[in-house]
Every structure is written in structure tokens, then in C-alpha cells.
Symmetry: D2
Subunit: 346 residues, 4 copies
């Protein structure tokens, strides 16, 4: 059994990790750590867990925990894990970090967008960006995984084949993204109370959202050039789900089938990416609670643009599910172990 | 492997059966039958099932199907299965009927409330009411299960111990019930379109809902007397969930702990019934997508009434989950096989 | 023009008052006072008010405000206005208090349920309970109005005619109530963030909610005897709306028409109470944003109980709308001035 | 009093017209016509209208109705009014058509996108496109108004100043649009039942939606060149609201203030367009139930693109409200008569 510790187990991503790992036959969770609920039973914090997880939430102690578990998942605010990580920890346990601390390869970019000094940038070099479908080989041997953000997962996987294969103008990329409310976490603020969100939608962080540089860096690596994109997130009144609508100018006239072949080349054998039939577009509900990403595209011959639409569950493929997928890769398990989840409908 | 056929596989309850059985290690589904989608791939009808169920929906033929499978689940409109069932079918395969056809022991009551002649009442005698926690022993050897309705499951389990033990006035029972919209099924009507339901709630079928006689019959058997209750269902703007708030006059002064002991006597060892701590009341979200029923109660000393509140997922414990639980009992499997589902939150 | 000051203008009830008074031709709002947003423009706090209300929120000073306005609406937490009110204020301006401070005639009951000493109980005697349909004559000459709670408005109006006319057993009353989330106000807490409320429902405060004694006191006055009821509030995932389902044992066999006549006697000429046709039950959406209460009932001959169902918009008839209705009565205006609002659908 | 007839009074747009006109002091509605509900009382079709509109729904007879009213609103499926309109009707009454029949100036474009022959294209020349802010002068004297679609209203007003003033590359325009579910009307289909829409979102009609040519035609007229855009509508789980996020490449480096000046030039004095403060972006809730459009923009210097975000209520500014605004203009009334509605929040 793989022994697991979770730092930040009482946030929504942490709780989703618990849900998924409860169904994983090779895993046992040893520690549930929390900032806000130390000393409380986990099922008091999340009553859905009654009779399932009765453990007491503990303070986090990364150093000690590393000695007793095989892998630590950290689902914490940014700048927290990077202030604690060290060689000692990583020599004892693998770390899969769901925060943003090790995602950006460029320190200046990190410090500008996050407006904070990075305290352990040396570990960024070693960290592997945990987009499983793209970095699978590196993930296998990694000690430290930078688990991608929810928006970046959906955005990068949407466009990666197009940029890698040079089908689109790298300067033409616009990503219009929509998210359910659980993306904001379980923290309490006026912006997330029910009546302010329900029956409404809005854009926010236009061109200033921190997931933009993450997407840009990965897409730049895909095409071999630095690129700048437009990224506009929107808040949608639903619990779960990310939907991205990505636009790019095609560099030539391509048919649907030609582009489909490119997507097939990259994703056909992927367990968790489902390319829909022509004319069928994703709906977030179709992937709910699962690790799937559904994807399809439309070519508009009049403008010679391609529109790529994709959907994930932000808490699964956009966070906890991908973290488990990465763990499976790191420990040589079947990649979909514990992740064979039928999306819940309705 | 237990071979399964599903009649009515393309309704919401049918689809939930598919979801659950996909995660059941001892089961293989042989037939997906449907009235409306014959010839269509199942994942075209339910795109969440892409890459999971690619089978073609077939017409239902109960007689032939019975020869090739071990158990048939029927999730059909009322009066349909009762018009088809016969000895031949039941001698070949077990039948778990999710419709109302075999739930009521009294033919006159059935025909009055359903306003239709019952065409095979002889099978009602043999049928076992599939409320697993109460009729477990009979279910083991049954050929035909009348799987309870969603409201009755939650209502009966809420009050059964109180009536069985004679704690409450049998003539004082009021059940105020609330349901998510999936209870109305996937059929299309003005009453269930989004804008008519969203941001609204209403009572319906006050004292005329067909689940009332089902609850009354079962509670009458519990207390040994014919009783009449008030049952008021309400529609609530959410996909899933049944919530029942049941009121009864206590026949004596009981403390919380005394009543708790009674509930413990009946439910303490039940896998799927979770009695909450004093002062903590169920929320439908805490059982979502799972087979749990959460229950608690409050004694009001001023009025000497007990208020029992319970929550289930109408599609799971209120339909498909309980059907699988019954199948497990009938085939000698672990009762929670395939049903160890962590409720999804949020 | 009637000059108005609002204390607590930045809560949901306060904002609803502003919305309604903006459409009232005889009123001008002089002061928007707030605890949390002093110095901010009102339309920054509520951007829906852009170009409509650009005033700056001020600190509340009841004494000074009373000298400059004709009526003060107070939409504040309980125990606040009762700690400030005095003869001086009331001699200068009328006060319509939307909090609970002056609603209960029995000081001991108030102090027990609110767990706080009442600091100015002498004013309770003078205060008129502002249920417009019942206390209209007293309201005309009142200086101080105790505007009813949202649940009590819907509950009392539901049952008042039955108790006043002695049709039901006073000891048999059960009120099962449901509320949208705006009833919890604009304060921020884990219980009201979107993901905790959405797609879920729950009972809360069973037999302990503070609106219970308010309902009991008024219904006791209606029937001339002290009564105790069961009151169970539930939270429903929608912004607005109160729905009450009230149960009582009929003292005799009454037909629908006989009882309808009783309701007609009390409500037929009421502007804001709509008695629906037999068999049609209220939906909260049908009264949204309006001051209407929709009501109907069902007699169950089998149990000889009556079930009365009613719906209001908690922020309008349950708070701000009724406050304006009371103001209209106090100032001799048409009772529906500014309240002729077509319910918004969908 | 202006006498009004409504054809299609029982759809959502028709009902919204009724709501608005009930609050319009210069209007009286003479006819409520309907296809599906002839002979029914209007408040049976829309119970929110109880005690407000008790008229009986009648069959539509455009010719006769025109003789008895001053203006006819038609809220009907496309190709219906264009098959009935004639000189006789227009010489007797003004017609404000909320369908698509007279919106497109190019017959071939109409017939291609709507896949039907236009039966009275001669009237298109006379019809005025009823985007009040842009065609106000023409509307004054029009007999026939082509009331704009919901998406086009929000999209065109978002970009009109930029194209008119030549600030953006006409070939770079992308409009990512989101709509609440009432945009689909009150018709019944699997796609709009509650459980299929709730807790989900999706793109649909990518590059094939019929509002695209309407937007293109108007923006082409604004910039004096034929342009093709990308238009992607999405369905969002809420009753009301349109949100458009429009992207365009700026032709030069402009500051926020420079562009703001352009928007001010066009919209500063507009009653119903609210330009928000820098950094504040629209939310659909802030305009709910009102005729406002809220708008703001962001300039991304890194990509030199402008992102314009706007919100309207699809049933008001996107349909019935704009129709009333046009009526006010046509009849020489104050443009905001009957439309001074405070947006409802929450």
C-alpha cells in the first residue's frame, strides 16, 4: 500500500483527493492535515465523509510526514510549500504540489504575477509540470510534481497539438474560459456567497489572471517561441466544471478531418481525453466527477479560424484527479487506477 | 459474472443503474433496452458514457432476455411490466422492478390510486418489497422484487422504528417531503423545463401523490394497524435529492437518547444508514451520488412531537442503488458490493 | 414628499427597500446609513444601483436623522434599535423596524429566545405588529411598527382565519417552512457560500428558530388561547422565496368551499393576497419581486386535516414590501402605492 | 392611451412585454394573442399575472387587429410575420416585430441562414432595425421595426463605437457570448429540461448561429466594409442574462482613457447604457429585469487587443424592453417611459 499524507486536506481540492483515494485500492491515507480544523474529525468538517473518514485533522509538519509516507499531496495557498520544501523532505517522500509554486519555470514571471519572492526556486528546475498526457515520461521519475492549474489543464490540452504541429498562428490565441464556483475554494468571501453568484455570470481578472502565464509558458514550449495570449476567465453559477473556448487563426486551409488526425495523433490512446464526434460539443456535466477531458473543435472557413472547446471537472482533471493520475505514473501503477469513474449525470 | 438486462435503460433511473453497475466487479450488462432510442448507441443518448458504454439500445423483449441473463432490472412506467410478467420469465431470471407495479399488496388500493386495472396481481403476492433494511431475509430468496419508490424509501425508513416499537400515535403522522427534479424523470414537459423550475419551489399532489398509499401500507404493517398519513411532496430546484421531514406525536415522554437507542437497534449495523450526531441534521448534498440515507430527529418537549429528518439521493438509495443492493442480497454478494461510493461534495 | 432615512441600507432587506422606494412617487430617500460601508457610494456597494442611487453611505445617528426625516426604516440586527430608541426619536419621526426587537409582546419570551436583555421594553407596548392585513387600523396611528419576520408573515397569514374562526384544533399546528438563501442576509459565512448551498437542501433550527414564538404569539391572539406549534425551517437553493406548508386538524368536516368562504371573508378584498383556484398551489416564482402572498389549501378527508400552502417573496412581503405597505397606511396613502409590481417570471 | 396588440403573448418575450406594459402609464393592451392557449385566461398561462391580467387569449388576426390598435408587437417564430404582413396592416398600425424576419437587409443571407424563402422582402427595405441607440432617428418615423435579437443587441452595442471610429482591425473580431436559458423560449425540448441544463454549460451553434449574420451586417455598416466575425454562443444555467466577451485587435496603441472617450461619445447620454468604472466588469445580475446594458473593456498591451464585456437581460434590453423603448420613440414619448426599472438584486 502506498502511504499518503495530505497537506490542506480540508479545502475542496483536498477533499476531492480524499474522495478519489478512498476508491484507490493501492493507497492508504495516513495524514489529513489542515490549517483551520486541527483536532476536528474529518467527517465533522465534511459530513459527506461520515463512516468513511473518521480521522482527526492534524497540523502539517512536512518534514516529519515525509518520513512516514511515500507521497505527500499539498493543496495549499501559493507560496506556502515553496517556503517549506527542502532536500530532506524530497529524499524521503515524493511531493505532488497542487499549488502554483513550482509551475512556472521563469522566476521573474512567477514573482511578477504572484507578487511575492519565490523562496526555493532551485526546486523548480527539478519539478516536473504534471500535465500527465504531455510530461508522462518525466513524471515517472520525478520527486516533485507541479500539478497544473484547472484552467491551464483545459487550455493547454486544447491547443497543444495545434501549436506543436504548427497549424495555427502563435500570436492569434484567445482563450475564453468559464469556471464553476468550486474553483474559488472553500474560503468565505462576499464574492462567493450564494446570492451573489447564483443567477449571474461575470468575467473577472481579464488579462491579469495568474493562470495566463502558466498557459503561455507551456504553449510557448509547445511551439518553440514565446507567445502571449488573451485569457479571460468567467464565473458561472454551477458547482463544478471548467469550459474553455479557444480561438486561433489557422495558418493554412485545413479540413475538419485533417485537424482531427492531429488530435488523434496526440490523444487517441489517452485514457482520459475523449474527442467527440464532429458536430458534438462538450458539456461540463458529461465529465462531472470524472477525470475526463472532452474536446472538439470547429473550423470556420469564412474566417479561417479554429475554435476548440473543451470541458473538465475542475476538481478532478483540474486538480485532485490529475494529481492521482500523476501518482499512478510515479509509482508504476495503471494510470487509471482509482480513476475509472463514470461521470455523474444528471 | 452476473449477467444483467436493463429494461428502460435510457431513463434517469436506468442510466444510474448503468453508472453503478459499471463499478460493480461481479456484473456484466448484456442488454440496454429502451422505448425511445432503439438502434442508438448508449453513449449517444448519454454522452457522459462515451468510451464507457458503446452498446446499441435494443427493443425490450422480456421473454427472450430472461433466457439469457440472470437478472432483469425494469425501470419503466407503471402498468408496463405487470402487463408482461409471467411464470416463464420468472423461472428463467430474477426481476427487480423499479416501477410501482408490485409495491402495493392491496389490489383495490393499487387500482384506485393508479386508476388502471392490474393485469397480473397474482405476482404481487410473490413479490418482495425491496426495502433492503427491512425485508432483507425475504429478498434473499425472492424471484421478483418491487423496488420501493424514492419518497417511500426515505419516508418509511424514517418512521419504521418508531411505529414498530409503538412510540408514536399512529394517527398523527405527517410527512412533508421535498425532491430534486430528476425524480420527474427524463420525460419532457412544460413543468420540468429549466426556467419553470429554477429559482422556484412548490407543493404538488397534496394528499393525492401515489407514493402515499405505498408509505401507508408499509407503516401499517410496521404498527399492525391501518393508518392514514398526510404526505405532501414538494419540488425543489436541484438535480438530485429527497428530503423528508416527518412529524408524529410521541405517546410518552422520551428523551433524545431513548429514541436514539431505538434507531440504533434497527440501523446501527446498517451499511447505508447513517444516524447523525445530536443537533446535526441531514443535507441532501452529503449523500449525493451515494446509497446512504442520513437521518436524525428532534424531540420538541413543548408539543411532545418528534420531528424526523432524512435525506437520500433519489436516484441511488431511492432507485438504482437500492436495486443493486437488492441484487447483491439476492445473489449472496456483499451487500455493499459496487455501492462503496463516497458522496460527491460539493 | 415623504422624507425617508434607512438604517441598515446595505443589507439585502435595506437594498430591497431602496429598490421599492425608488419606484414610489411620494417618497424621497434622504439617508442611506450602513455599518460596513460608511463613506462608500451606494452604487459601489450594489452596482445594480448605478445611475440610480449615487448617494454616500453614512453612519447611523437615529436622533439626528429623526429630526430631518418623516420616517425611518431600520433593517438592523436584533437588539440594536431597542438599545437606541427613545421618546425623542419617536416624537420626531415614525419608525418602521424590520428587526425582531418589538415583535414579541412577552418580554420573558423575547429574552429567552433571543438570549439577551431587552433594553427598552416600554416601547413594545406602543409598537404595532406590522402585519398590514390584520393590524391595519392600529398601524394607521402608530409611531413605531414592528415589521414581521419573513417566515411569520407567511405562516400567520396562512392560518389566521382558521384560528380566528375556530375551525382547527389549536394544538395540532405544524408549519413546515422553506426559504431561499437571501433570508440569511448578505453576511458572509461558510454556511451561505455558493457551493455549500447549491444543489442541496436541509432543515435547520428545528423547534428552536426565533420565528416560532413570533408565530405562536400571533396565532394565540387569533384564537384566544396560548398555543405551541411545531415550526421547521428549511434552506432551499434559490435566491428568493418563502414557502410554508401548514398542517392542522379540522374540528369538524368542512368542505373546500366552506373553508374557502372563510378565507374570502378575511382576504377577498386584500390587494396583496391572492387565493388561488381549487387545485392550483402556489409557486414561489409566481410572486417573485412582488408584495403578493399566494395561498391555497387542501382538505384531506381521510385524516380530516387541512394543508395550507402559501408563498411570498421573503424580501418583499416578508420584509421591505410590507414595510412600505405599512408606511403607506401610516401616511394615508393608497396601500399599494409603489407596490404595483408584476411578479417577474421566469 | 396607446392601444396595443400582442401576437405571441404567451411566449417568454411576450409575457415580458406584458409585464413591462402593465407598468407603462400611456399604454393599454387590447389583445393577447397566442397559438397554443386560445380561449385560456392569460393568468392561467402565467399565474404570476393573477389579478393583473385576466384577459382571454385570442387567435391572431393581424389584419383585424391592426384596425383596432395603434401598435402591434409580434413575438413569433421566424417566417411567420413575414408571411402575413401587408400594406393594409401597416397603414393601420405600427408593427414592432421581435422575430428575425426583417432584421437582415440581404435577402440571400436571410434565406441561407434561415433556410427558408422570405415571402415579403419588399418590407425589409422599409423596416428599421430597432437598435434604439443607433437608429433612433429612423425609428421615430418607422411603421415597421425589426427588433434586434438578444445576442446582437449586446454584441453590436459592444463593438459599434470601435468599428465606427476605426479603432480595431475589422477582420479580428471574435464574440464569445453566454446566455441564460430563457433565451430558448418556453417551448419544451429535452435540451431545456431542468436536469439537462442545471449544473452544466456548453457551447452550441459554433459559427452557425443565426445571430452571427445579423451582427455582421450591422458591424459591416458601422465600419463601411463587409466583415466576417466569429460568434460562439454558450448556454449558462441561469434564467436570464446575456454576457458577451468581444475581442478585437487595436490598430494602434490606445490608452484606456482614450477608448473610454470614444465610448462616452456614443453612450454617455444614453439612458440605458452604463459604462462602468475602470476595472469593474459587468455581471448579468446587475441588470436583471431592467433595460440596462452594462459595459466595460480592458486593453491588453501585451497583445494589443481590446476585450469588451457587456451584459443585458435577454428578455428586456434583448427583447421586450427594447421593443417598448422603440415604441416610446415611435410615439414621441419619453424614451424611458415604463422602463425606469431598478434591476432586481439578488
Amino acid at each position: 500500500m502506498i502511504k499518503v499524507g495530505i497537506i490542506g486536506a480540508t479545502g475542496y481540492a483536498g477533499q476531492e483527493l480524499v474522495r478519489l483515494l478512498m476508491g484507490h485500492k493501492d493507497v492508504t491515507i495516513k495524514y489529513y492535515s489542515s490549517k483551520s480544523y486541527v483536532g476536528k474529525r474529518y467527517d465533522e468538517v465534511y459530513p459527506n465523509m461520515l463512516n468513511i473518514v473518521g480521522d482527526i485533522c492534524v497540523e502539517d509538519n512536512l518534514v516529519d510526514m515525509a518520513k512516514e509516507v511515500d507521497v505527500i499531496f499539498t493543496a495549499t495557498p501559493h507560496a506556502y510549500i515553496s517556503s517549506l520544501i527542502n532536500e530532506d523532505i524530497l529524499s524521503n517522500a515524493k511531493v505532488i504540489d497542487l499549488s502554483a509554486d513550482f509551475r512556472l519555470n521563469n522566476q521573474a514571471v512567477f514573482e511578477k504575477w504572484y507578487n511575492i519572492k519565490h523562496e526555493s526556486f532551485q526546486f523548480v528546475e527539478e519539478a516536473v509540470y504534471g500535465l500527465s498526457e504531455i510530461y508522462r515520461d518525466d513524471i515517472k521519475n520525478a520527486r516533485l510534481i507541479a500539478n497544473p492549474g484547472c484552467y491551464p489543464t483545459c487550455s493547454i490540452l486544447s491547443l497543444y497539438p495545434l501549436l506543436k504541429e504548427g497549424l495555427v498562428d502563435k500570436d492569434s490565441i484567445i482563450i475564453d474560459a468559464k469556471s464553476g464556483v468550486s474553483g474559488a475554494g472553500r474560503s468565505v468571501s462576499l464574492n462567493t456567497i450564494y446570492c451573489e453568484v447564483n443567477e449571474s455570470m461575470k468575467a473577472y481578472g481579464i488579462s491579469t489572471h495568474r493562470h495566463a502565464p502558466e498557459i503561455e509558458e507551456q504553449l510557448s514550449m509547445a511551439c518553440g517561441n514565446d507567445i502571449a495570449i488573451n485569457f479571460t476567465p468567467h464565473l458561472v453559477p454551477m458547482n463544478r466544471g471548467i469550459y474553455t473556448t479557444a480561438y486561433a487563426n489557422l495558418l493554412s486551409n485545413y479540413s475538419y478531418d485533417e485537424v482531427k488526425e492531429i488530435y488523434n495523433k496526440y490523444y487517441k490512446n489517452e485514457n482520459f481525453i475523449r474527442i467527440l464526434e464532429e458536430g458534438v460539443y462538450p458539456e461540463t456535466k458529461w465529465v462531472e466527477a470524472s477525470n475526463y477531458m472532452d474536446i472538439n473543435f470547429k473550423i470556420d472557413n469564412r474566417t479561417n479560424r479554429i475554435i476548440v472547446v473543451s470541458a473538465i471537472d475542475n476538481l478532478v482533471k483540474g486538480a485532485a484527479g490529475q494529481a492521482v493520475q500523476n501518482m499512478n505514473i510515479m509509482f508504476g501503477l495503471k494510470e487509471n487506477e482509482g480513476l475509472n469513474i463514470v461521470p455523474i449525470f444528471p
